[in-house]
């Protein structure tokens, strides 16, 4: 049997998490006529997980499930409404100004749209120099050394050819490599990659994923990989978190999840993904009808209740299920896995 994640359980127990997220809520206020409060969009509504050094996790979900809000809250772009983010044992809410600056150096961000993420008037050299200038690396030799090293690592070689170029002179794949290089230049311990390959062509996609994977191994980097595409995670991460309606509904090892999904939503998501196969022509997909709930006033019970074929009336629509642990160590937020109910 596969152990929980591919990081052995024993190792996980002794290792301290690099990042812990506890009961995290990020709500956005909606105002009417500019100042009357009209409600809140609960984009993150109680998220908990631990991330260990050198581990890659994928966060999978459809648009509007809160996965990008989670990334941005971790990066400090959004302020959490409630809950804590703990990085290397220190709470983000208690950070001083210096702590915060140090944190931004230790956490890299790989954006979805590489061209939009870079200043179009800056050359490659300048783009990579900027973070180092902000973080006070004064010596030009040191900066040049790092630029050279990081460009070689992301395989934008020969380095000399790329330094004077502007982003628009690079192909989509090269632009994404440059964004990764920029995220790596301050030697971070954690990389948050928000849909890093969704705008790229299939043949380039694999190249970028393999690059991220090799950086992870070489630098013992923790990576949070956010995606809507389940088929890429098999090649990338040790663990998967599935998000639906602002909550994580299933946490599990990658292989376990793909081979034996537990939550009804995870099952639906796997069913909806097509592999290239001529047999697909003959069958219809079993997709749950309806749409994800509005996060403006989410329903009280399980967020998937209205679309779920296994829903228990009177329970699922009334009470939000807690995380239940299955025999093989998955965490599933679903009443079907309540051990007391089964007996």
């Amino acid at each position: 049997m596969l152990s929980k994640a591919e990081v052995p359980v024993a190792e996980q127990a002794t290792q301290k998490p690099i990042l812990s997220v506890r009961n995290l809520h990020t709500w956005f206020e909606i105002r009417r006529l500019g100042f009357f409060k009209a409600g809140e969009v609960k984009a993150l509504d109680g998220v908990d997980f631990d991330l260990y050094p050198g581990e890659a996790v994928s966060i999978v979900g459809e648009s509007g499930c809160g996965k990008s809000t989670l990334a941005k809250t971790i990066l400090g772009i959004h302020q959490p409404t409630k809950g804590e983010i703990i990085f290397e044992g220190k709470k983000l809410s208690e950070f001083t100004k210096e702590d915060r600056k140090e944190y931004t150096a230790k956490v890299g961000y790989v954006q979805q749209d590489p061209y939009g993420a870079m200043a179009s008037f800056m050359t490659v050299k300048r783009i990579l120099e900027e973070p180092m200038l902000i973080h006070g690396i004064r010596s030009p030799e040191e900066r040049n050394r790092r630029i050279r090293q990081v460009l070689e690592e992301v395989k934008l070689t020969p380095v000399e050819d790329f330094l004077p170029k502007y982003p628009h002179q690079l192909s989509g794949g090269q632009q994404q490599r440059l964004v990764i290089a920029r995220a790596m230049i301050l030697e971070p311990k954690l990389l948050v990659a928000d849909e890093p390959v969704s705008m790229l062509d299939a043949s380039v996609r694999v190249e970028i994923l393999q690059l991220l994977r090799s950086l992870q191994e070489r630098h013992n980097l923790a990576i949070i990989y956010i995606t809507h595409d389940l088929s890429t995670v098999r090649y990338f991460s040790e663990r998967i978190f599935v998000m639906y309606g602002a909550k994580i509904v299933e946490q599990s090892g990658t292989r376990q999840l793909l081979e034996n999904p537990e939550h009804p939503y995870t099952k639906a998501l796997l069913e909806a993904t097509s592999d290239p196969d001529a047999e697909n022509l003959k069958t219809f997909k079993k997709v749950p009808s309806g749409e994800p709930p509005s996060l403006l006033n989410p329903p009280p019970g399980c967020r998937f209740y209205a679309r779920c074929e296994f829903a228990i009336h009177g329970l699922c629509d009334k009470q939000m299920p807690p995380d239940f642990e299955t025999a093989d160590g998955k965490l599933v937020r679903c009443w079907l896995y309540d051990p007391e109910r089964k007996q």
Binding site: E62, G173, E207, L209, A272, T273, P276
Partner: protein, 331 residues
């Protein structure tokens, strides 16, 4: 299927654009045939000319066209020979319709959806159809795509993305065309919505017998609908094969490399990528356009490859499959 009548035959279709930097050969001599009731999926990476192919078939051309030649035979008539007015009246939206890319965002926001759909009918049946009849027909098309009938009275903003996409598909079907060209119909949608729309298309294909050309970059989605798969690379159609053989046994080296780069959910397979980049469509290299990146390149590749039809029905543009005689003739 069983019906082997040829609906569409495209022969040596060319579409070149004029730009400040030179001539872009977006579609450069594409030929294929499509039987009634079948679906052809055209796959390829961005910039390979697959959307231009759709535009060329429907003659929806931008202003900077330099060359537009070839033959498009539909229902036995060469529609390329028609003048613009005849094409508009007799072909477009009558015999063939199109769902353009990101169409769900191009509905008129201030007109009720039912009226927008009926409008297509009224324009193409001038004087022959009353408004009430057109609305009835619009309702029927809503049934095909599985939308509730009261949505005819709604405005586009009241519908979700998946529903708007289905409304657009209903709009393309309302005149009951023989052929519908779908340009990336699901790429802007979520996974489960995507599966829903593919289910709808599949049902329409079975029930109405509509012929589709499905243009997409996603091979997985393409396999939901495709009887034949065509691969485009740098303006050329390098392979056109029956779906059963294509996914497991692509004939062109580019198709094979593309398939090897597609991650799969249910199988473990090593992934690989294609080094290098596709050539610019301004002054593309002579000979095979994939030659520079091709692992199986040999001296013949400098010459324009012939189109070879293999025994299992695969049509491939590659010297590897050419007979010895052809190679000798070329030299």
């Amino acid at each position: 299927m069983g019906n082997s009548e040829t609906l569409l035959r495209v022969k040596d279709l060319k579409l070149h654009y004029r730009t400040a930097r030179g001539l872009v050969q977006a579609v450069d001599g594409v030929s294929f045939e499509l039987r009634r009731g079948e679906t052809l999926a055209v796959i390829g990476e961005s910039g390979c000319g697959k959307s231009s192919l759709a535009k060329a078939i429907l003659r929806l051309l931008p202003r900077n066209v330099q060359t537009y030649t070839g033959e498009v035979w539909l229902n036995g008539a060469n529609v390329m020979a028609y003048n613009e007015e005849k094409f508009r009246q007799e072909v477009r939206w009558v015999q063939m319709a199109m769902v353009p890319q990101a169409a769900m965002n191009s509905l008129n926001p201030v007109v009720r959806i039912g009226h927008q759909i009926a409008e297509a009918l009224l324009v193409h049946n001038k004087g022959k159809m009353t408004k009430a009849e057109a609305m009835e027909k619009a309702a029927e098309s809503f049934k095909w795509v599985g939308l509730p009938l009261d949505f005819l009275q709604r405005y586009p903003f009241e519908l979700s993305g998946g529903m708007r996409q289905r409304a657009i598909i209903a709009m393309s079907l309302v005149t009951e065309p023989d052929l519908v060209v779908l340009d990336e119909p699901t790429s802007a949608l979520d996974l489960s919505t995507q599966a829903n729309v593919m289910n709808v298309l599949k049902r329409i294909k079975h029930e109405l017998g509509t012929t589709f050309i499905l243009i997409t970059h996603d091979v997985g989605t393409a396999s939901e609908l495709a009887d034949q798969v065509a691969v485009m690379y740098a303006g050329k159609m390098v392979e056109c094969s029956p779906a059963e053989t294509f996914y497991t046994n692509a004939a062109h080296p580019y198709s094979a490399a593309l398939m090897a780069s597609v991650p799969t959910l249910r199988m473990d397979k090593p992934l690989s990528f294609i080094p290098g980049q596709p050539p610019s469509l301004i002054n593309p290299p002579t000979g095979c356009r994939f030659a520079q990146r091709c692992p199986k390149r040999f001296e013949m590749c400098e010459k324009e490859p012939p189109t070879v039809e293999l025994e299992n029905g695969q049509r491939v543009q590659c010297w590897l499959h050419a007979a010895a005689g052809e190679m000798r003739d070329a030299q």
